[in-house]
């Protein structure tokens, strides 16, 4: 989750009458996680969830806290937006590349300070990664307004077009940027299906940006910058305006005056951005109290919403018309309003005592039948002296090779794009992992008697089949077929009062003549044997190992578990 640094003195200054500890205590109750408190630098590090991009700056967080502390309630408003008269023209060539652009200008007397620049940059990064979907959907350019000569043209150029990109001294062609600069390599794939590349230029043919890759160097913001142009390009109109609205509120809270721009399409249509009109939604009467389990009056409901920086009015039919800021992209269903009310009410005020869990409905809980069977098997094996182990499902292919499982690769299930040989395939047999466990415990006392109940995976008739499997091993210097078979027979007898048969069968991983299939009611349910010496060596063991494995799904099918009864 993304992290924001909030200055403790910014908190104190915003709430002069409230103790800092109390402010910090309330931070989690607006849906933020406190990651750490750095008192030396006077900073609290706060994690926010990607559904709340407006929390990506200190100002956004303070805006929400002001509601909870009732210092400012209801919808936040950007006052006095003036028309700048600046124009951005959209060329039709961007249509198939990245068709949307919107922008606004912002001015104030004081230049940006270091803290503000870093907040803006980290906000830009968080918006890129979250709602911008790693710049694929939307991306942001922040420019020094004073270096721009309007009108702007949002157009495309071929790959040999060149300009000086941000923080470079020389011109680069688009091709070079995509192939040689880190940002180009990282984000170039977004434009890969195009031979024309989006460029925003001013009337002097200076490049402001090459979205979504990099800005031009000319309009870079510096410590003396006090006039900004903010632009968002996108493949999705709603997303572009959402992001622009978040940025508008942020700059307004930084003390900037906001100026709108005219965005003119190649068809001559023109809109003014930013679009900051509040959103609204109707919530039916009684819904909120029902879903939250509260009993609030309409007045209280509205007050709670206002503490969450939203507002509402009651319609004649009793329904509630709710209003929320444009940047609240996370609200699109009445349940989202219910959460705003819960937060405005204060989660800490809910009666969460266990008595409130006690709806008058009765349920009788029970275990899944496979849990019952597995526990019965566990109990018998425990009585026979076996220790249960657990292993991972994702294993290295080497492990099954070491166990001499000659598998048809088309039956294997592997991990796509595996980065390490440790995490290559889903195990198709349970025994190899148990052999690994034995090899990790060679310094422990023998005899070692282990078992595991776990899943195994294979491809079977164009289906991925996962099945529960039981593996049982005995390791010591005198173990042999008779010993392990007597465990198998005891298990089947003591657990199910059933017999199995073991017709001779040879396996690569068992000693020839010392192994068999396990048949239950004439059906193959597993195998048993003394492990082949080379396999034992492969696992670096210096003692004998005998083994059986049973496919529990097959066994459970054959046992007809519906017949399990009390009487």
């Amino acid at each position: 989750m993304p992290v924001v640094d909030v200055r403790l003195n910014a908190l104190s200054e915003s709430f002069p009458n409230i103790h800092l500890n109390e402010i910090i205590e309330k931070i989690p109750y607006i849906g933020l996680d406190i990651e750490g408190l750095d008192e030396n630098n006077g900073i609290i590090r706060v994690e926010f969830n990607p559904n709340r991009p407006d929390y990506s700056t200190e100002n956004g967080i303070i805006r929400a806290l002001k509601g909870l502390f009732e210092k400012e309630v209801g919808l936040p408003i950007v006052n006095d937006i003036e028309e700048s008269g600046y124009v951005v023209c959209i060329d039709e060539t961007v249509d198939n590349v990245r068709p949307i652009i919107c922008a606004f200008a912002a001015r104030r007397k004081d230049p940006l300070n270091e803290h503000e620049i870093s907040q803006l940059i980290s906000m830009q990064e968080d918006l890129h990664n979250g709602v911008g979907r790693k710049r694929k959907k939307s991306s942001i350019g922040i420019h020094d307004l004073d270096h721009i000569v309007f009108p702007l043209l949002y157009t495309t150029f071929p790959k040999h077009f060149s300009f000086v990109p941000l923080d470079r001294e020389n011109e680069f062609t688009i091709d070079n940027i995509l192939n040689h600069l880190d940002v180009g390599k990282k984000y170039g794939h977004i434009l890969q299906n195009s031979d024309k590349f989006p460029i925003l230029i001013d009337s002097q043919k200076n490049v402001l940006s090459f979205p979504p890759i990099i800005n031009g160097h000319l309009t870079k913001i510096k410590l003396n910058t006090n006039s900004l142009l903010i632009e968002v390009t996108s493949i999705n109109e709603k997303s572009a305006h959402d992001i622009l609205s978040i940025l508008s509120f942020e700059l307004y809270d930084m003390g900037f005056k906001i100026y709108s721009l005219d965005i003119t399409s190649h068809l001559g249509e023109s809109i003014k951005t930013p679009v900051l009109k509040q959103s609204k939604m109707i919530v039916s009467d009684g819904y909120i109290n029902k879903i939250l389990g509260l009993n609030l009056s309409n007045g209280e409901l509205i007050k709670c919403l206002e503490r969450s920086r939203c507002s509402a009015r009651i319609l004649e039919n009793g329904d509630m018309e709710c209003y929320f800021p444009r940047y609240r992209v996370d609200i699109f269903n009445p349940v989202d309003i219910s959460e705003e009310i819960a937060i405005g009410y204060g989660i800490y005020r809910f009666d969460a005592s266990s008595s409130s869990s006690n709806p008058s409905l009765y349920f009788s809980g029970k275990k899944h039948v496979s849990s019952l069977i597995f526990n019965s098997i566990r109990e018998v094996l425990m009585g026979l002296g076996f220790i249960e182990i657990i292993n991972t499902n994702i294993i290295s292919k080497n492990v099954i090779d070491d166990f001499f499982i000659r598998v048809d690769n088309t039956d294997l299930v592997s991990i796509e794009g595996s980065k390490s040989s440790e995490f290559e395939i889903l195990r198709n047999s349970i025994i190899p992992s148990i052999m690994v466990t034995l090899s990790k415990n060679i310094h422990e006392k023998y005899p070692q008697k282990l078992f595991e109940i776990g899943k195994t995976f294979k491809v079977h008739q164009s289906e991925l089949k996962e099945e529960w499997s039981l593996g049982v091993v005995i390791a010591h210097n005198n173990t042999n077929y008779s010993e392990i078979k007597s465990v198998l027979e005891s298990l089947m007898k003591y657990c199910f009062n059933k017999n199995i048969t073991t017709p001779r069968h040879n396996f690569d991983y068992y000693l020839n003549g010392h192994s068999a299939k396990i048949l239950f009611n004439e059906n193959d349910v597993g195998n048993i044997g003394e492990v082949y010496p080379q396999v034992i060596e492969n696992f670096k063991l210096r003692t004998l190992v005998s083994v059986f494995q049973i496919n529990l799904n097959s066994l459970m099918d054959l046992l007809d578990l519906k017949k399990i009864r009390y009487l």
């Binding site: 809910f350 002296g385 994702i394 995490f423």
Partner: protein, 522 residues
């Protein structure tokens, strides 16, 4: 002061009398063995070496037995400095070693009576010094007359000299301790020590023991009793002899080795305990596959197709050589889900993106398929099962771990009930301090996370997340009533329970660790 000192003394006497009484009841065979030897030699100091030889006990056993007996005041112990006397090694190697005086006698027996002949003889090889010394000792032994350089034998030659006897003893027993020699042996030793190349003397530190008066009286009392049996046997029982027998007191306090035993894996055992709690709360267990289609793992849960959680960096996608089909729902469900995505997330939903198999990143796809299939009006279910995250394993992150998840659905289900269920569950686990914070999950709204206070670590720990399933999740699947859902990683609880700093230890299968975890946490 004086009175107090007397009291102390009396106390000491009393306690040693009690000790003696107890001792009778619990004399270990080792103690008995040692005590009997010391009793046999009563009045004499017996060394470690001697005790070893006579008792057939190991050094360790003797040390232990001596400690016990000393504690009971049955014996006294002294750190004796001793001198060990033995023959020079060169001399031991010579099978036919004789003292010079005996050699001289033998020479004369062979017929050489002239001193010059004797010096020249094979036995003395011109060593006149040796011959004169031999003459001196022969005279001391009254073996010869020596007149006019001629030697004649006396009848005393048939008797061994004291020195010869002493040397024979040393040859026989290897070495001897100075303090154990009798008077004549001591004088022989003194004489031989003065003569070069016969005797070695080594200083040794040899603990020695002597039976005390208390030990003597105790041993007498012990021996007066019927012969003790080491243990009760089946024969004693069957032939009825046990009626006439007394049995040895065994050491009932000594610790013994732990037995090998079979046991459930501690993590599974803990999961089972928690399952029982949930069952007691009316939840029923459900079960489902680890491998899920992207549809059920993501799309059905309203996670947009361009969401970063769906990246290969976070999720394990499965690959097979043969083409396989992942289970997708009926067309109308797909249509419902896709249109809700397109309406709310503003993108074009692509069915291909929902087909690939993934290892479930949470247990919710199992729950949601259950709900979509059963469409219960009201229900309480739970599951605990393996989930998979493509993360780097570390002390606090596992690639595979268990998630616990529960749902409650009914017509009137609400957020407060959900918080109440958590409180009830935590209370059953002994957790009393809980707080709830708002948070975000793509498929629940409102969403909360719970924090629990852990006394052991003296801090708040983030535990289960929860929320009400979004209508965007339930409505397309035909689920009518609100569904309260909660869940989270299980291993986090296991770390607290088993005192682990490294979560990976749960899956190391270190047998010593597995055996060492007690069944009950107290």
């Amino acid at each position: 002061m004086g009175i107090n000192a007397n009291d102390e003394e009396r106390d000491r006497e009393l306690s040693s009398a009690n000790l003696a009484k107890e001792s009778i009841a619990s004399l270990h065979p080792i103690e008995k063995n040692i005590l009997s030897i010391l009793y046999y030699h009563k009045g004499k100091w017996i060394t470690d070496n001697e005790l070893t030889k006579e008792s057939n006990l190991s050094i360790d056993q003797i040390r232990r037995g001596i400690e016990w007996l000393k504690f009971k005041n049955f014996i006294a112990v002294e750190d004796g400095i001793e001198f060990e006397i033995s023959l020079k090694e060169s001399l031991l190697k010579n099978d036919n070693f004789l003292l010079p005086e005996r050699k001289l006698v033998n020479c004369v027996k062979e017929g050489k009576s002239d001193i010059v002949d004797i010096i020249k003889s094979e036995a003395f090889k011109n060593n006149s010094k040796e011959v004169y010394s031999a003459i001196k000792f022969c005279k001391n032994n009254k073996w010869i007359d020596f007149k006019n350089n001629r030697i004649s034998l006396l009848p005393g030659i048939e008797h061994l000299s004291n020195e010869e006897k002493f040397i024979d003893k040393l040859i026989r027993i290897g070495s001897s301790i100075l303090s154990k020699l009798d008077e004549s042996e001591i004088s022989s030793f003194e004489i031989l020590k003065k003569r070069p190349n016969f005797i070695d003397v080594k200083k040794i530190n040899n603990k020695k023991y002597i039976i005390s008066d208390l030990g003597v009286s105790f041993f007498k009392e012990l021996s007066s009793r019927t012969e003790l049996q080491r243990k009760l046997t089946a024969e004693h029982l069957i032939d009825g002899k046990w009626r006439d027998l007394e049995f040895e007191q065994i050491d009932v306090e000594a610790p013994l080795p732990l037995l090998a035993y079979g046991k459930k894996n501690p993590l599974i055992d803990f999961i089972d305990e928690v399952k029982e709690i949930l069952i007691g709360m009316g939840f029923s267990e459900i079960d489902g596959n680890f491998a899920q289609s992207s549809f059920w793992n993501f799309d059905a849960l309203f996670i947009p197709q361009d969401h970063s959680a769906r990246d290969m960096q976070d999720t394990f996608y499965l690959k097979t050589i043969k083409n396989i089909d992942s289970p997708l729902p009926k067309d109308d469900v797909i249509k419902n889900v896709s249109s809700i995505h397109e309406q709310n997330w503003n993108y074009t939903w692509n069915i291909e993106e929902s087909k690939p198999y993934v290892l479930r990143t949470h247990t919710t796809p199992v729950t949601i398929q259950y709900l979509a299939k059963e469409k219960p009006e009201q229900d309480k279910t739970f599951l605990v099962g393996r989930v998979f995250r493509n993360e780097k394993a570390s002390f606090k992150h596992l690639v595979e771990f268990n998630q616990i998840e529960g749902i409650f659905t009914s017509k009137d289900a609400n957020l407060r009930q959900l918080m109440g269920i958590q409180t009830e569950f935590y209370a059953k686990m002994g957790i009393k301090k809980i707080k709830f914070w708002p948070t975000f999950f793509p498929y629940t709204e409102p969403s909360l996370q719970s924090m629990i206070y852990n006394d052991k670590f003296d801090k708040w720990i983030e535990l289960f997340g929860m929320g009400i399933l979004r209508p965007e999740v339930t409505v397309p699947l035909g689920i009518k009533n609100p569904v309260l859902a909660w869940g989270g990683g299980f291993e986090r609880l296991a770390m607290i329970r088993f005192n682990l700093d490294d979560i990976r230890e749960l899956y190391y299968n270190n047998l010593a660790w597995l055996k060492g975890i007690p069944k009950c946490l107290l």
